[in-house]
Each structure stands twice: as C-alpha cells, then as structure tokens.
Amino acid sequence: MTAIFKREFLSYFRSPVGYVAIAIFSFLSGFLFYSQFSGNGVNLSSEINSLRNFFVIIIPVITMGLFAEDKKRGTEVLYYTTPVNLFSVVMGKFLAASALFGVMFINVFIHMFVTKICGGSVGVGTWGSVIVFFFMAFMFISIGILASATTDSQIIAAIFGFIMILVIQLISTISTYFGNTVTTILGNLGVNSETAATIGSKITDGISWLDPFAKTQDFRFGVFSVSALMFCLSVTVIFLYLAFRVLEKKRWSQG
C-alpha cells in the first residue's frame, strides 16, 4: 500500500495534474478569502464551504487517471500478477489523492493563520468546516476512483465522476423536484391532493436523506455530529469496495 501511495502521489508531480490542481485551488481559495476583506470580519467557514462547490471539477481531474491510465498503459498487470493485494492498491491510490487534497488545503491553513494573527476569529466552527471538508473530499474521491476503475479512458472516467458528484451536490434540488413531480402525477391520477402532497414530501425526504451537505451543515457552528461523519465514511468505504470489486471482476470476466 505504501509503495502504491508513494508512486501515485509523486506521479501527480511528474505531470502537470498536481500542479494545475494546486494552482486552481490556490486561486479559488485566495479569491474567496480576499473577497471577504471588504465585509466586517473574515468568515473562514464560508470560504471553506464555498470551496466544496469546486469538488465537482477538481476531484474528477485528480482521480480520473488513477486506474484508467493503468489500464491503458498495461501497468495494471502488475497489480494482478505480483503478490500485492488488490484492495491495498485501491487504498494506496485513495490515500494518494487524499494527500494531494491535504497539500492543496495548506492554502486554507495559511489563511487561518493569517486571520488568527490579525485578530480574526478561528473558532470551533472553522475547525468543524475543515473536518467536513475532508470527509466530503474522501467521499467524492472514492466516487472518482470507482469511475476511474470502470474504464480505460481518462475522459470517460472524468465525465462519469463529474456526473456522480454533480448529482450528490444537487441532491436536495433533485429530491424536491422528484417529490413535486410525484405529487403532480398522483394529483392528475385523481389521488386526494393532501395524500399526494404527503407522499411527494416523503419521497423528497427519502432522497434528501442522502444529502451529505444537509447532514453536516451545523458543523460550521461548532455543532458536531458523529453520525454525519459516519455517513460520509461509510459512503467512502462502499465506493472503495465497489472499485475493488470492479477491478477484481475483470479477472473473472467472460466477455
């Protein structure tokens, strides 16, 4: 696992990918930090939470090549024909992408440091936002890894990852839309309008239960929830396991 981690992490810096990701992140975080100077006091939580909106671009870019490139170059043979364990390969790559996120996040730590020495507030809420940021990054990275494991084309992996992450980011909108549609259809079918509205809202609630943003929204106020973090962690583990299964299935494929 360490070997795979080391290789993948360093390979980010052998190609432009790592530098570009860091540059984009630095620009965005710097801009978000700077844009708060005119207001009364800097709100770091708001900066960190806004940065999460860019996961949909950054994460597909840093995860798309993790397995797709190996498949294309034929280097995946190494994972199957050497004594290395396939799940530790998945973990190594996951940790490499997560570590790159850690490096990118140094920007925000600098902002926190600057805010602190200038007398701004860096409180429990800020640290809560940092924790949420990383747990969500883990979750989306595991999704990107699954996308990369399913194909030998980086572009397809990026698009697939982009769509999955976008769906999760928009899940509260999607759930409302879906619930309203069901209500309308039931109404047209002659169902009592009150019942239709109840069923619709139940569906909305059901889908939006999956929304990690809603689950973690109180962290920024310093209200921590273990179950929310467990949710993110479980999703991460599930997607990593799926990626592992996809890779293992290849060996058994009869197609």
């Binding site: 190609s15 034929g74 043979v77 190494l78 199957y80 004594p83 290395v84 197609g255």
Partner: protein, 312 residues
Amino acid sequence: MIEINNLVKHYGDKKAVNGISFTVNDDEVLGFLGPNGAGKSTTMNIITGYLSSTSGTVKVNGHDILEEPELAKKDIGYLPELPPLYLDMTVLEYLNFICDIKGVKKSERKEHLAKIISMVKITDVADRLIGNLSKGYKQRVGIAQAIVGNPSILILDEPTVGLDPNQILEIRKLIKTLAKSHSVIISSHILSEIQAVADRVVIINKGKVAAIDTISDLSKRLSGSSKLLLSFKGPVKEVSSKIHAVPGVVNVASRISDGDIHELELTVDSSAASDVRASIFFAMAKNGWPILEFRSLDPTLEEIFLSITSQG
C-alpha cells in the same frame, strides 16, 4: 515447475483456450508457439493469475494460482506483450517500485537491483525516464521488472516483437543467460524465434495443444518433406530433368522465371543416405549452369500445422 491441467477459458461463446495441458520442468526453456489468436496470450495470462480460467488448474511449484495466489505469484516473473512500464518514472525509480510491490527486503534491494541492472545491461539508462527510452531498452526494463524478486519461473510473451534485428539478437542472448537459472516460457508466432532459445516446444492452434515435442524431434517429424530452393542461369527444361535424375530428389517444380534466370523448388527425400545438395552442385557445375542461389526453404508455421494435423 508449472503444471497446467485442462485449462479452458470462454469469452462469451468463443472458447479462447480449450483444454490445454502441459508441464514446464525446472530450468527448461519452453517455447510456446502458435499463430496470432491461437490463445497464447490468454494462456499466459491465466498462468500468471491476470485472468482466471473458466475451468482447469495451474500449479506453480505446487501452489494453485487461485487458491494460494500470493505464494504462486512470488515464483513467477511476467513480461506481458505490452511491458507494464510507468513512462513517467526513471528506470531506477521504477525498479524500486517493483521491489516494493514484490516485497523485496530493503536490506537486499541495492545489491539485487545492481545485479539485475548489469545483467540486462541497462546501467547507462538507469537514471533516465522510461518514456524517453528506445523500444529495445524498454523491453530490457520490462525483463528486469520480471526478474525482480528472483522468481524461479519467467513468462515472456512475445519478447522480441517490434524490435530491430540487432535488438532481437541481444534479447535472445539475454534470454539464454536467464535460462541458466530460471524456467522460462517464451511465446512467439515466429518459429525461428523459438528454435533459437527453446528446449521444448508446445504448439497450440485454435485453443488446443497441437503438438508438444523437442525441437529436434519436431524437425525430424517434418524432415520427410524438406524443400530446397535453387536459382540459376540456364535452360530450365534441361536443368529440371538433370536434377530430377539426382537420387533423392522427389519432385521439381518451377517457381519463377525471369529471362534466363529461373527458380526451381525441389522436394527432397531427406531420409536418403547422401546429401543431395552436393550432387546437385556438381551436376550444375559440370554443365556450366551457374547457381545464383541455393538454400533450404524453412518450413513455415502453416506447414508445420498442416504436417502435424495430417500426421496426428
């Protein structure tokens, strides 16, 4: 030692490998020969654990590749058709990475790598990026990767494909060196390739074993119908009849004529006591017909298949 027993692999309806069994002994070079699409790569991929078989077993030094994959894989070094190289790493970084995933101990690593690097002769390029190396060097790095961790068995899938003649000779030499201390399975669709290095040959066709034999026995089997090509200047009819009269010549067929230069294809009964070539030379010389070219026609793989299937 590898024991392969009744290997079958389906791809949809197609049977890529259909009941292949053979054994590779210790310190033996086994040639694995077959036309493109015969199932060579699939079989090798199954032996190395890259693919699983639909049925059948592979045992590497007694360890089943599916039941004890880690023990079995430790004994195998594999060079697939496309060498598994990271183009963004230097040769040394790459080999260190391979040491990591193959679990070579840190304390032994330096010595182990130094030995491998000098063996496959990549000392000069050890610090260069793999992406910038020539194809021949890439192939050497691929072989180096296979021998990291001292596996007792090497499996090389078409190791000389796409190389220039000089590189082919060098890779062959390297394989011969490696064969002194390893069992080697080497695949190819070119007969001379296998002849140059292998002790024994497995010929497969359409997913089945067509023949398993030593090279010398195989050529003996084929020797009943060896052919010679004769190119000369002179009257074609007279020459044909003169040569036909030479004892041991079974058939004479005209191939190409260009002005007064002709080519004849001679079928020779090579079980005859004397070598017909000397008699033919003297017959031509006596009549003042200059020989421009005179060589044996190597049996092509197709001919071997035809001959093997017609015999069996």
